[in-house]
Structure formats: C-alpha cells, structure tokens
Amino acid sequence: MNRFFRLGGSLAAIALALTPCIAAGEPLAPLPALEPPKREQVELGRLLFFDPRLSGDAAISCATCHDPKKGWGDGKALSTGYPGSEYFRNSQTILNAAYYKRNYWDGRMDGRDLPTLVRDHLTEAHFMQVDGRLFAERLRQVPEYEELFRKAGGEPSFGRTLTAVAAFVRTITSRNAPLDRHLKGESGALSASAQEGMRLFQGKAGCIQCHDGALLSDQKFHALGVPDNPKVFEDPLRHITFRRFMKTLGVPNYDNYRQDPGLYGVTKEKGDWGKFRTPSLREVSLTAPYMHNGVFATIEDVVEFYNRGGGAHPGKSPLLRPLGLTDGEKRALVDFLKSLSGDPVVVEPPPLPEYKLRALGKN
C-alpha cells in the first residue's frame, strides 16, 4: 500500500464522517459471469448433490439443508445437521456461494476452493459425517455413476466427487434480478418505491457500507449485536454440536460459552468476538430466516433491527447507528430488497440410480 493510497483512504474516512449521505464501497452491479465448469462435471454433480449416499448413514444429502425449494437453504432458523444432532447456525443459501472470498458464517474456508468446501460438508461430524473412501465404494456400486464419472474423468473417487459437486454449485447463481435490469437501463424494472429504497440503501440507511458491489457483500466481518438465539443453548443437541465444533477450532474454555463467538472461533483475536461475514443480499426474499442464527423471521424484522442501530454488543460495529427511517422509508427499503431476486434457479431432484450387484473380484 503506497502512501498516496493511505492518504486517500483517510480523506475518504473524513468525508464519510462529515456527510450524512453515505456512498462508500463498490458500486452495485450485476454479477460477473463465472468461467463455466465442464458440462460433464455439472451433470454428475447435480445427481451427487441430491444423493443421500454421500452421508454416513445414507440419510441426508446436500439438498437436505440446501433445498432448491427453500431458496437453497433449509428454511429453518437453525439448521439440523447430521441425524442424532442439531446444528447451531442458519443454513445459508448456496445461491451465488461461488462468489465469496470466504465461506461459512465465520469465514473459516477459502472461497476460491469450492471442492474443499464440499469436502468439509461431507466429512465433518456435524454435517454429513461420511468417510470419503466409503462413499467412493458406494458410488462404484452404481453403474450409472461409473459411466458419469468416466465421462467426467475417471473412476468414482473421493476427489472427483468433490470436484463434480463444486462444479454444480458454481452453476447455482442468480441472474437478471430487477436491480440488474435497472442497472442496465431497463426502465420500469424497479418500482418507484423500490427505487426510493435503492436511494435509502445507498444513503440514509447506510446498508451499502457493508452490502456493496455485485454480490451486495463487502465479504468482511462485522459484529452487529444480533440477539442470541436462545435455542442454541436451550436445546441439548445444539449445545453438544456447538461445543464439539468449538473444540475442533481449538478455542479455550468452550464449555463456558453461551454465545456464538463467530470469527473469534477462527482467529482467536478478542476483537473478532461476535463478528460474522456479511452475507450477500441477492435472493434475500427467498432465504428467510435471517442472520447467522436465524433469529429474524422476516425482512421487515431485519430492517427494524438496523433502524434501531443494531443490537447490544461491546464490540459492535461503529457503522451501526439509529437510522430514523419513517414507515414509508422502511417499506421502500423492503421493496428494494425484494428486487434483488433474479430468475428462479429451479432444479428438480433427479431420480437417483440404484445400487446394482457387481461380479466379486472384479473391482
């Protein structure tokens, strides 16, 4: 970082403090196209995404918690996780997941490596708890999979499975949202109210401070003081999963936690307690409930929360302050947020090919 840039940054910060009309961050824009994955990989990945044989007890698939009919999340405040357990965070949509630099609410995974993100979901005890060598043998027991894998590069294997599912996930992106059409100059793409909401979004409401750019996420971590979801610690199964997960991260004294530490769990830096990665707002009308713990059921609840200046948290982001929005302004903001959903990404669960007998000794 050169000196000039730093100076520019401080000037911008001063300007930000002085002006009530906020215009920080990257401009809103349509999502850039991703390099398309190979068709054979996508075709295979689509089946695997829906196949419960990719979990330890063959009971759940990726689609169990990322259901196309539920905005590619699971529609619950807190996700379920592996049978016999309950999870302690909200299942995020996988729509546009391929655009993140960091993945998961606490950003513990590098977004540039989707196959590893898939691997984490498959093998971790709180998600699908499967041994990759076991599901590779399961897939080898299905002639249709053998054929699809062959077209995608070779025999069914752990690694090829991850690549294929990741390829499929890269195709789950939003296109052609009213906002995008508006930005391309299509008049009437946004209602007057939504256009008013867009101005508020970039101005008085300050949303764009964090929800900026094509993804409507700064991809950074902030503490908002989101109210705790009491179910995390009142449900023994969630508390168990929470503790076990914190132990895997190596945080101290996790037995005593009664709050989700968010990014702190990853970095172990005090200042990161309660910070979570800004999620994209694209497709937000499909992905209720909201926040890392699903504590808000509706978009209106979320707008009210920000209007109050967020919650109570010692490390709360200084970007949050009471907004003083009128009822009409809140409605306009909600209308704008609802304009962020693009053409529906519909994928019907495919029929899954069955196990067939093999000749013994021809492995």
């Binding site: 009971a59 016999g84 041994d131 060598r133 009142e234 168990i240 503790r243 076990r244 196990y355």
Partner: protein, 378 residues
C-alpha cells in the same frame, strides 16, 4: 515358553483330580501336547483399568447407549444383543445405518480372555475394541469428540464419570474403560458350565455321550489342535477354507463394505482389484500366506452364539462338524492340520454333545438399563 505355560495347569489338574481319587488321564485323556482344557481362571484385569461396581454399572449403561454412535442409532448392544448370545444372531452382522457389515458379530461372552480381539486379531484390549467398534464407519461411525460432548450433556453421566474416574467432565476414553469393565463381567462361571463342573470333579456333569465326545475332541477329531486351554482357543490364526457366504454375491451393501475394507486396510491396488472375499490376517500383515486366516474363536457358550465362522456361513453346529469331518474347505492356503476325520454318525453326535457341554446351563442375560437423559446446561 508357551509350552511350559501349558504344561503347568495340566500337572496341577492331574494333582487335583488325583487328590479326588481320579486319574487325570483316565478322565479326560488329555496329553501334554496342547494346553489343557480347564475351567476359566479369574478374569484378567489390566492394571490401568481396575474393576469397581460403579464402573461396571456405568459401563453397562454405556454399552446399551446408542448416543455412542454417529447418528445416535446404534449401541454396542445393537450388534451384541444379550438375547442372541451377545452377538447379533445374523450370519453377517448388520452394520451402521446405510451400510451392512462384512463379518459375523462375535459374542462378547468371555471376550475378556482374548489377548487379541476381532476375527483377525486387530486390537489388543477390550478398551481399544470398544473404541474401534463405536468409531468404525460401518459399525458405529461415531466421532470421538461428538460422543464425548454428548456424555457431558447428561448430568447423570457427569456424576458417574466423576465418581468412577475423578474427572470434572466425562472423557470418551473413560467410556471405553467402563464398557471394558462391564464386559469383564460377561464371562462363563465354572459352576454353570457342565464341562467345568466335570473338570472340578463332578463325574456326572457330563453325559456318557459328551464324555465320548471329549475323547474325540482330544483325539480322533483333532479339535484340540487349535481349540485348547481354558478358553478352547489357541488364539492363533488358521485358514480353514470356510466357504464363501453367498450374501456377498446377493447384497450390494455387503459388496460395498467388502471393498471398503480392502481400501481402508491399505492392501495394494492389485490385491484390491481382484479381492473377492475377506482377506483376514492378511489385512494386518500383507503377507500372502496370511490370506484367509482368522483367529481361532473360543468354543465356550456356542450353544447361544450361532451362526458360526467369521462369515456366519454355518447356521448349526452339525454343519460345522460336517465341515471339519470333510477336512474343511478347499483353499490353497488351507491349514495342514485339517484332514478327513471319518467320523461315524454316532461319533458326530458325541462330539456335538461335548460341544454343547461347554455352554452355561442358561444364557447370560442382562436386562437393558434405563438410560439418563440430556439436560440443558446452565
């Protein structure tokens, strides 16, 4: 060393029987060539896991608790049910949900006496066996840390672990210790076993048939070559040419698990590609001559532990006797100890009567204990 050890109990036994006015040889016909058949000694207890009533009680609860598996569906007792001789009663065991196992579930009864456990002797203690079974992907598929946190969410367990192990919070390794302690109570008591009563001087404890069977066991049938000592096992590994169990040609889930086994045990690619059966001791040693070798199981309590063999291919003892009478199966690696026995129909019946005398008069049943619940932790 092994032989010297075997000789001592025989001499002791002879002395005991002589004191009772009987000549050892005339009663049992045992020679000093093999470790003597005898009642089981007191159960061996490892120094780092002493027995206590509270530990055994805790171990019993854990043995029956399905939370010691991945999806909280499968307890030790799922495959080691008291009412089916502490095995699962099937030829090849059931597996974790979504899988089927690839070997017969062995009885837990008297497992405490083995120096090595599992059909190919993969582990060396009940403690490590419990861990391996609860964590194995086709058995319990449990994650150690997850199971440990589950135990910590149960106040009754927290109290019991503290009382037994002195820890503030349960440790998963102590769960395996407690389960092992419980299993050390699942042993044949000599006073309940006709053969043991006979060996202790009750000449009427065995029928005439069974006595003739004992003679065959030690002599013409040659069983004692491998089934010797108080446990009736030499704890060594032999290839008998046990026939393949057709379930491996009929059930895709069994085929998956069989191949998975080749993979996780790290056999060379070439062996994986052509393997069509359980490779037994080979998985451990990767020595060609160990393919198809399995550890001699005890014959105690076999009245209650059908089906038989590592793949459960024989449902009755009569089938097992027929198998040995024909000198076992046909495999290149087959043990040279197996030869055609030419037993008469009468002799087979006698041998069967003796084998049945190795079981307790009644099956050892332990009722399932009540399991404590999870609670909210303040």
């Amino acid at each position: 060393m092994q032989h010297a050890h075997g000789a001592i109990p025989i001499l002791l036994l002879a002395g005991l029987l002589l004191a009772g006015g009987l000549a050892a040889d005339s009663v049992t016909g045992q020679t000093q060539k093999f470790p003597a058949l005898a009642p089981l000694p007191p159960v061996p207890v490892p120094r780092d896991n002493p027995m206590s009533e509270a530990k055994v009680e805790l171990g019993k609860m854990l043995f029956f608790d399905p939370r010691l598996s991945g999806d909280a569906s499968t307890s030790c007792a799922s495959c080691h049910k008291p009412e089916t001789g502490w095995g699962d009663g099937g030829d090849v065991s059931r597996g974790y949900p979504g899988t089927q196992h690839w070997r017969n579930s062995q009885t837990v009864l008297n497992a405490a006496y083995y120096a090595k456990l599992f059909w190919a002797g993969e582990v060396t203690s009940l403690e490590s066996q419990a861990d391996a079974a609860a964590s194995g992907n086709v058995a319990g598929n449990g994650d150690g840390m997850m199971m440990e946190e589950r135990l910590r969410q149960v106040p009754d367990y927290v109290r019991r672990f503290k009382a037994v192990f002195g820890t503030e919070r349960p440790l998963i390794r102590d769960a395996w210790m407690a389960i092992a302690a419980f299993e050390r109570t699942l042993v044949s008591k000599p006073e309940n076993v006709p053969f043991d009563r006979f060996m202790k001087g009750d000449a009427k404890a065995l029928t005439e048939e069974a006595k003739r069977g004992l003679g065959l066991f030690l002599g013409k049938a040659g069983c004692v070559q491998c089934h010797s000592g108080p446990l009736l096992s030499d704890e060594s590994y032999h290839n008998l040419g046990v026939p393949k169990n057709p379930v491996f040609e009929e059930d895709p889930l069994r085929q998956i698990t069989l191949r998975y086994q080749h993979v996780i045990r790290g056999v060379p690619e070439k062996v994986y590609r052509s393997a069509d059966r359980d490779l037994g001791l080979y998985y451990t040693t990767k020595q060609e001559q160990d393919k198809g070798k399995f550890r001699t199981p005890s014959l105690r309590e076999l009245t209650y532990t059908a089906p038989y063999m590592h793949n459960g291919v024989f449902f009755t003892l009569e089938e097992v006797i027929e198998f040995y009478d024909k000198a076992g199966g046909d495999e290149p690696n087959k043990s040279p100890l197996l030869k055609p026995l030419k037993l008469t129909a009468e002799e087979k019946k006698d041998l069967l009567a003796f084998l049945l005398s190795l079981s307790s008069d009644k099956p050892l049943i332990v009722p399932q204990p009540a399991l404590p619940d999870y609670a909210v932790l303040k």
